[in-house]
Symmetry: C2
Subunit: 168 residues, 2 copies
DNA sequence: AACAATACGTCAGCTTTGTTGACATTCCAA
DNA sequence: TTGGAATGTCAACAAAGCTGACGTATTGTT
């Protein structure tokens, strides 16, 4: 493989050149920074980090989820999640209730206060995404989602697809 | 704003519902994990991290770049970059040469050994992206790139556009 | 009833990668 | 020649990941 111009089997494969793939890699890197920039500013004021944001996001999306479930969605260890979860519970943003059927489990919910922060964070993040979506239009958005889904690990994709999506 | 179904101004704006935007946010989160998973495995063997990968990537893309320029591309402090850069130079993967015109500047290049690692890392990352691109086709890829570019900060987009792209 | 497995929490210690602040050196330019 | 810019280095710290070990409560299995 070389960085230089390559013989193409057809014009339709031009998007698979090393150069184009590199541009895609860089686009992911740079875009992810923008993607997290707005919530990061809000989190900094409250002395929280991205890990708190992720926990809040997925507790909002799956109210009543267990610690174990959240662990596998986030892909971190229980020690790592516990540190974050403990501060959120202490600060009254997350409620942890003993399982009814299985008392070993803890079910996680956002408190009203937690929901307020969740809303602020996701508003900030959605604003940027909404602006991007408006700029490029529905067809580009569909392509965007398709590529992202295709880039996920199989196991991750299951988590992704399990999240509710009322438009489908 | 509410999570529930919302009155639409038209069918064409269905993709701007909170739910759809949330799905986009989750897609970014999950896809970014997949995006970094393959190079991470290679880096772990060599006791390097993602910060090393990023430095290597952009030194490869802009040979002879200065430390200051790299700083602004990566968006980190000089102290943070220096730590990474120092190990790469010690390990013989990166060469730092005093500037000819301005001797305060250091120009960074990959050594042959550094180029070998760069190739291994980017091959791994490109393989996944290539597979995704093949799955979804050129139109979706174009949309993917458009959305990512629209999500970047203005300053970041300048860096992105400054990177060479021989197909444009 | 005894035992094994599961879910969760916690302690201790370590790593990577980011941050500030302080300070020295080198060099260009006014 | 003096001021500012670019670089490098030291120290200290924080966020957020990791492993390993251990304790407790609960549940499932034999």
């Amino acid at each position: 493989m070389s960085d230089g111009p390559q013989p193409q089997t057809g014009q339709s494969l031009l998007f698979l050149t090393d150069e184009q793939l590199r541009k895609g890699i860089e686009a992911m890197f740079f875009a992810y920074r923008g993607f997290t920039a707005d919530p990061d500013r809000i989190l900094e004021e409250k002395s929280y980090g991205r890990a708190h944001h992720r926990a809040i996001h997925f507790i909002h999306r799956s109210p009543g989820t267990t610690v174990n479930n959240l662990l596998s969605i986030l892909g971190v260890t229980k020690q790592s999640l516990n540190r974050v979860l403990r501060t959120l519970i202490e600060d009254g943003l997350v409620a942890s209730t003993v399982g009814k059927k299985d008392k070993r489990e803890r079910h996680l919910h956002l408190t009203p206060e937690g929901a307020v922060l969740e809303r602020a964070l996701s508003d900030a993040q959605r604003d940027r995404m909404r602006a991007a979506y408006r700029t490029v239009g529905p067809d580009a958005v569909a392509g965007f989602r398709q590529v992202l889904e295709a880039m996920m690990d199989d196991q991750t994709r299951h988590h992704y697809e399990a999240m509710k999506d009322r438009t489908e």
